[in-house]
Symmetry: C2
Amino acid sequence: MDELTRSIRRSVWHGWGDPAEAHPLSAAGWSMLGSLGIARGPKSPPVALEEVVLPPIALGDAELDALRQVVGDGFVHTDRRWRVEHAGGKSYPDLWRLRRGDGSQAPDAVVEPADAGEVQRLLEVCGALRIAVVPFGGGTSVVGGVGAAGGGGVAFAGVVAVDLRRLDQLLHVDQESRLATFQPGLRGPDIERALEPHGLTLGHYPQSHQEATLGGYVATRSAGQASTGYGRIDDIVLGMRVATPRGELLLGGRSPASAAGPRLLDLVVGSEGTLGIITEATLRVAPRPTAKRYAAWLFPSFHAGSEALRGLAQDVGPGLLPDVCRLSDEEETRVNLALAGRSGAALLRYGRARALPAPVLVILVWEGTDAGALKHRQSVSERVLRRGSGRRLPSRVARAWEKGRFSGPYLRDELMGRRILVDTLETATTWDRLGTLHAEVGSAIRSSLEVGGRGVVVMCHVSHVYATGASLYFTFVAAESADPMAQWRAVKSAATEAIVAGGGTITHHHGVGVDHAPWLSAEIGDLGVDVLRAIKAELDPAGILNPGKLLPPAEGSSGGAADGVVEAVTPGPDPGLTCTPDLS
Amino acid sequence: MDELTRSIRRSVWHGWGDPAEAHPLSAAGWSMLGSLGIARGPKSPPVALEEVVLPPIALGDAELDALRQVVGDGFVHTDRRWRVEHAGGKSYPDLWRLRRGDGSQAPDAVVEPADAGEVQRLLEVCGALRIAVVPFGGGTSVVGGVGAAGGGGVAFAGVVAVDLRRLDQLLHVDQESRLATFQPGLRGPDIERALEPHGLTLGHYPQSHQEATLGGYVATRSAGQASTGYGRIDDIVLGMRVATPRGELLLGGRSPASAAGPRLLDLVVGSEGTLGIITEATLRVAPRPTAKRYAAWLFPSFHAGSEALRGLAQDVGPGLLPDVCRLSDEEETRVNLALAGRSGAALLRYGRARALPAPVLVILVWEGTDAGALKHRQSVSERVLRRGSGRRLPSRVARAWEKGRFSGPYLRDELMGRRILVDTLETATTWDRLGTLHAEVGSAIRSSLEVGGRGVVVMCHVSHVYATGASLYFTFVAAESADPMAQWRAVKSAATEAIVAGGGTITHHHGVGVDHAPWLSAEIGDLGVDVLRAIKAELDPAGILNPGKLLPPAEGSSGGAADGVVEAVTPGPDPGLTCTPDLS
């Protein structure tokens, strides 16, 4: 995790990241999909930028001038490129719309404040003028969290995206307490680059690392690939400064823990821009790792593999267990090994020869500053793994995973360009329910997509383990139907209903956005939703902050106030194809 | 931590716990206090139960009958003993009032529901009849959290204490996920006794362990002596069922972590009965320890000792650092060694001979199920301690601490009975501020108490360490002034102002109650307080739940609605004298 990757300041507007970093699917990959009944369809490229149909700009000169007075003339943008680049995040529906030239989720304008004071004044101006505000960090939401959904209707004069890229400073490092205070606009690699001279790391590596921002991490309650070791964002955030229409909130920061009533910090973490805009956050940092160890194991089944991970989480425990703990199920392992060419085939033969006809792959990474301690951690972990029925593989298998760990989402663009539906979704549950939930969600996805006799791939991996449970991350692929959005809505709905019925959370780290909002009541109850609404009404009385996100549409709402919300209720997907390890 | 202690079902009404478990202060102890200018005053015993002056019962027959219809005739108590036993918690002001026969904080009645359904119906009945409700677990609040303060005024028909002792079942154990679901009324030793047959422990050992309840732990965001190892309550609670006047809240429980919006569970944790009554809680449990290791060290100064603890928290880290990590400052070490008689004197001589004229004592305990792993943990920790300037002591010093770890608070009763003021208070902060905060709060306490040339003892220890900071726990002793409550209010206020100014949290584990409520705005801001009020208004529209607690008195409130609140604004203390290790 110590190698710095490139920060992507502005992704391609119709897809993931910087296409220059994409690796096209290999011939073997296409051949494997074909063998599963998923044929490469005709080319289906996105429209040209000029062809995107944008709604007329609802804001008048007076309103735009009021915004310019806050941030300066050069930082209010109404031109086509800026509007299109902020016309949604990276969810399947967001990209599906844009590829076809539907710019209906574009804001009227994009505003770039310079500092916390300007953010605060923007909220005051927008509140007074009833302008909806969509906070915008890296724009990598895969749940419809940053579209200008709620601003186009009768309730608002218009909608602006508040792009936080100019708030990109590391403000303070406290070596003694191992804390760092950041502005919200730093992207993942920028965070690491700023901490590097101090010998520190945040250790936060979601698949969106190269584009996503610190503020986005906090606002969406993010978890990254090494969060089993370094902790989720909600574990490591200690304090923050938040601009709200009612004024500034200063939360936490005094101490690592407190009994001074409910922890309000935990209301803003995960609030997805609906309660305020985070203008500073103080997070726990760790010594920058100087050493790393890798291991890969095969187990005979998902059950055996998840029991092995449970052993790590419960019997090795925090501080010793690997920083990265991943387990691919049978189908994901099979697909990934097939994509890996000859070395993958060799691993499959190795497994078959050892009575592992449908093996599952476990990837483990330990990192730290003390080689001796790392060696001890690995030996303690592998002692626990040896209790099971697994087989150790060469560690280069784990290194290969790491090499490709940010590249998965690019494949979605390539497949969408060939009329193949592909998306991911995730959940988490307690260990006692994990096996059943894995089976039932996988089955719901498969049943939904198999309509019309389509070939389907449904893969899953565990990427985060805890003493009490683990996450499940599904990737699914099928040929597009005649109405891909209807097809997608059906599979999203089927999967989420299965998650709710099976006792999982509706999202482990992607967030709620518009795509999961219809199921928030299933997670926290109608009364819980009422509590969230009351909090929002207190901090954002005019309701200008990221309307339509997080909270389910109000009962009896006709959707008239915000056409985007209605679209949104028909769920939207999320990114991050599983990585395809290059084992060659 | 594996030895089960006795559960105290009902403490003495005018003091701490069961006086049969108290150990009187030794002659050497009195002599040491005397040498510091704190003389044993004349005997000042509490009044007899019959002499306590109780307010007339405000509730009429119709209201009492409505309560009886919910819980049954035998479970609504209006007799003197029940009312007095619920006339406050164990704060200094609570006990000071009761010892003098002031029963003004008594509820009109005590109600004992049998289950979650009865709790829910009670809240509905009380809401309809405008009866204030004080949730009552172990009654060990040391911040005025359970007095019937807010119920005596014009706003309510009366006030009932809802005693949860009948909800005392372990409902479910999930061995696979290492989770246990409890009713709220189990006391600390009952929790451990219920988990023992399953080979599990909660590992939660506050000084109030023998009386405090699981529901109280959760409602006050509790931390115990071994929480450095097992985690605070807020770290280990996964889900809960909460009765509110608006209906039931079911929060969490689906997964160890989630990105489904703000974590509402964290609103109820620490809500101190102002938002609802916890009727079930699911918490992470751990394998019951079968082995233990102890260590004690002397360091030359509080600074050197806290640097050693910082090394443990940051460089040894979770999973390896001791489950119990304590550091007494110079004055606490000196007093404790003096109280320990000959063996303490021997340690002081040992220190002086090694250039430690004013040493500080560090106590460490590791526990677990694998003797080899424990030995490794200890050796890793002690390697870090050896970097500093400390000296290792015989491990029996740490065992002696453990033996007396629940007995400290009894001393307060003995000293109050001799006209000596004694109390404790606590905070936490980040490592960079710890030394200054220790000095400044200690100095504020001393300056306040020294008025009139009094002898003063101000001791402090660190009891909880984190990667980013640590707690500070102060104990202070002085001869009573002519107006001990004024004396106490002055010292409480001076200490809390110093905590706020020094960047500490107003409470690390005692909670807010009425005593810290005036400073809640300093912790979370006026806007944060408004958010809490909005949440309360949503869940408890009639404001019947534990009025006057947690939230600061509203601006412009004359206090007319609740005389108790006005009293409350003049702070109240907290318990837990530091333990006096018996080193003999």
